[in-house]
């Protein structure tokens, strides 16, 4: 791994960003509501204050692309049920630890004796299974197109090494069907999309071309640095002003139209597309990636016989509207008052990619205390 990454500075160079900002200002004549899909982009926009320097005509709303936020409570409930078996080690990404299930979360379950460990990659979880052969290791495989290849790789390794004590509990989502649910909504106000650069790095952007055609909406594949985001917004504003509904790739240094073919191949080998149920978005056909039947012995739901279906959310959390871009976090009466990162009512407040967390962390000024611009 190289830690040099000198080029990062170029993508945060104030002069280059200023220059793009000028071009956006020159181009824009109308009012446009645009959505960035990915939680990483949301955090970059809020952290760097990009939405505050853009012209007033641009209204940025935030999309559903936070992998932790959309994991539905019943998946967390099922994971805790599995972890209550003393034989089980539940491995998960650290970001999941504080996400509320129906009545509990992983930190609370851990405090009451469950063996729940934060790992950095599914391969780390597989290593735990290799090290502790008398235990059952379950990896909570969440995420989008970006994490699915690594999850598939872990199953492939487990298969070739004949590992018997490793399973996945999957909650893997596909971005285009989630976005489509939002666009199809009769009350949809989104006029342009910034497509998620990392997801497109893996999956390409052919599916976004279909969305463009079906919903008459321009889409720009966009990266994550301030310059990338401003460049994406510039292209999107240009398309909107011209009325051109096409896909433009502004993140060409990472994204190819067809995506990463070997990553797609391994995902297809181990997972099949099926219905998914997501926090805030509900049941969506063809939006989930599930283990194929022939790899059923790696499926934790089967091995541990847990199958609690989706449950109603009753916390008062308005993440459903937040994740669909209908309201901003500060429009929720719980935000910043009762709902905080220490006492989250919904996942968007806990995840490092969650939009409520971003607003709380970088923008709390609007809720009491002084205004930073004051």
């Amino acid at each position: 791994m190289s830690a040099g990454l000198k080029y990062i500075d170029e993508f945060r160079d104030p002069e280059r960003i200023e220059c793009l900002l000028d071009r956006i200002k020159k181009r824009i004549t109308g009012d446009w509501t645009i959505m960035e899909v990915c939680g990483g982009q949301t955090h970059a926009i809020i952290r760097h204050g990009l939405d505050r320097i853009l012209p007033d005509g641009i209204n940025i709303v935030h999309g559903p692309g936070c992998p932790v936020c959309i994991v539905p409570p019943h998946v967390i409930d099922n994971a805790v049920t599995i972890a209550e078996d003393k034989k089980v080690i539940l491995c998960t990404f650290g970001d999941m630890l504080r996400v509320p299930g129906t009545n509990t979360d992983f930190l609370k379950a851990r405090a009451s004796g469950c063996d729940i460990r934060a790992v950095y990659s599914p391969l780390d979880a597989l290593q735990v299974a290799l090290d502790e052969t008398d235990r059952e290791v379950v990896f909570l495989a969440i995420g989008f197109e970006t994490t699915a290849p690594a999850n598939a790789l872990a199953v492939a390794r487990a298969q070739s090494m004949r590992v018997k004590n490793f399973t996945l509990l999957t909650a893997q989502a596909l971005i285009p069907p989630l976005v489509e649910t939002i666009l199809r909504d009769p009350g949809n106000v989104i006029q342009g999309l910034l497509a998620p650069g990392h997801v497109c790095t893996v999956d390409g952007y052919q599916e976004y071309e279909m969305l463009t055609a079906r919903y008459n909406i321009p889409i720009v594949v966009t990266g994550f640095e301030p310059y990338d985001l401003m460049d994406g917004i510039y292209h999107l504003v240009t398309l909107l002003e011209k009325g051109e509904n096409v896909v433009v790739n502004s993140y060409a240094r990472a994204v190819k139209r067809e995506g990463n073919l070997s990553a797609k191949k391994i995902v297809k080998e181990y997972f099949e597309i099926g219905e998914g149920s997501w926090r805030g978005l509900g049941r969506i056909p063809r939006s989930g990636l599930h283990l194929r039947e022939k790899y059923g012995h790696f499926n934790a739901e089967k091995k541990f016989q847990v199958n609690t279906g989706p449950v109603e959310e009753t916390s008062g959390c308005r993440s459903a509207e937040v994740l669909r871009g209908k309201i901003k976090p500060e429009d929720c009466p719980l935000f910043g008052a009762e709902c905080t990162p220490e006492n989250p009512f919904g996942a968007p407040m806990v995840s490092s990619e969650g939009v409520c967390a971003a607003y709380y962390k970088y923008r709390r000024l609007n809720h009491g205390k002084a205004d930073i611009d004051g």
């Binding site: 791994m1 990454l5 960003i17 204050g49 650290g94 490092s352 990619e353 962390k361």
Partner: protein, 352 residues
């Protein structure tokens, strides 16, 4: 650079072939406990001349005010690039004393050791503690040892308490922070957290990242000796610069405005944080502090820090602004403004 820890010293006086590992009997209060205390701790801390024959150390004090602090250390792994739990346990407490303007004098050391812990490692840790204490010019004068069952601890936990003398004229406290004060940091941020993380998770970066773990008492003494009117000091440990700034803003009721592009950070740390999805302002340090001084003394403070700080890149990173009461605000490198919030819990790497 950090002074390398001297683990070579004398060899462990406790016969390692007889007791290669710590047993529960070493914590039982009987003969083996006494042998452990005499042969490991009394020997390793000989320079400190600890009181092992009595229930308490008796300390001679001159008139004045005492600073008193305590901290517990549970780092994983116990040995990491640039330090170990022993050095950390001494430097951490010494630094807490130094931040109150106190001259560190005496330390206590309490160890909770897991049954089966290698005696040779315990010796190494004890030597490292003495080496750090000598560097900070203070003495380890009393201590305690307990053992816990195998599997009930993480090798070793250490608690240290310390006392230090606060010179009469010194009033260093968040309440002393004034509007217009310069906020100065003594060096680049994020080394300790990333060094420990890379050691624990066996991550490999091109550049070896070492912890900044160091005693700050000499640096603070130099600042005090120079006659600079120091209003407040805070060492930046868990929660990093972000937590330190927020603590002072909250306690003082003042706002703090920092400039993102003045915060020193070396490229390997910036790169590691990018890859992992961490914000470097929340990464732990063990040899960094912020200092609040009148604007007129800012340049002089930086000059002294340059001379004294191990990495020599101190910087004026911001100013105290009464208008932003209780908040920390950052002028970002790209020209926008944002809040720096108190961190909530630990940071986790990004998922995608």
């Amino acid at each position: 650079m950090n002074k390398e820890i001297n683990y070579t010293g004398p060899s462990c006086p406790l016969p390692l072939d007889r007791y290669p590992k710590i047993t529960s009997a070493h914590g039982g209060g009987g003969r083996l406990t006494r042998e452990l205390v005499k042969k490991i701790f009394a020997e390793a801390f000989r320079e400190s001349n600890p009181e092992i024959e009595h229930d308490s150390a008796i300390l001679q004090l001159n008139k004045g005010r005492l600073a008193f602090t305590t901290d517990s250390y549970v780092v994983d792994p116990l040995f990491f690039p640039g330090g170990d739990i022993g050095k950390l346990a001494v430097c951490g407490t010494v630094n807490d004393l130094a931040m109150a303007g106190a001259k560190p004098m005496y330390l206590s050391v309490a160890m909770i050791i897991e049954e089966g812990f290698e005696t040779a490692l315990l010796w190494k840790i004890a030597l490292s503690m003495q080496s750090a204490a000598s560097e900070a010019n203070c003495r380890i004068v009393t201590g305690d040892t307990k053992t816990v069952q195998h599997g009930k601890g993480h090798g070793i936990y250490i608690n240290t308490s310390g006392v230090g003398l606060v010179p009469d004229s010194i009033e260093i406290h968040p309440s002393q922070v004034r509007a217009g004060d310069a906020v100065i940091i003594n060096g680049d941020i994020g080394r300790h957290g990333i060094a420990v993380l890379t050691a624990r998770e066996k991550l490999e970066f091109e550049d070896r990242i070492e912890s900044d773990c160091a005693s700050l008492s000499g640096t603070i003494e130099a600042l005090l000796d120079s006659g600079i009117e120091i209003h407040c000091l805070r060492d930046l440990t868990r929660g990093g610069l972000g937590a330190g700034l927020n603590e002072i803003a909250e306690s003082s009721g003042m706002g703090i405005v920092v400039e993102e592009n003045r915060i020193p950070i070396i490229p390997p740390i910036a790169g590691a944080c990018e890859i992992l999805g961490f914000d470097p302002i929340y990464i732990a340090n063990e040899g960094r502090f912020i200092c609040f001084v009148p604007k007129a003394s800012a340049e002089k403070t930086v000059a002294i820090l340059k001379e004294k700080s191990p990495f020599k890149d101190p910087a004026i990173i911001g100013t105290v602004d009464a208008k932003a009461g209780g908040m920390v605000i950052m002028n970002t490198a790209i020209g926008s403004r944002r809040v720096i919030d108190m961190p909530s819990g630990e940071q986790f790497p990004r998922i995608c």
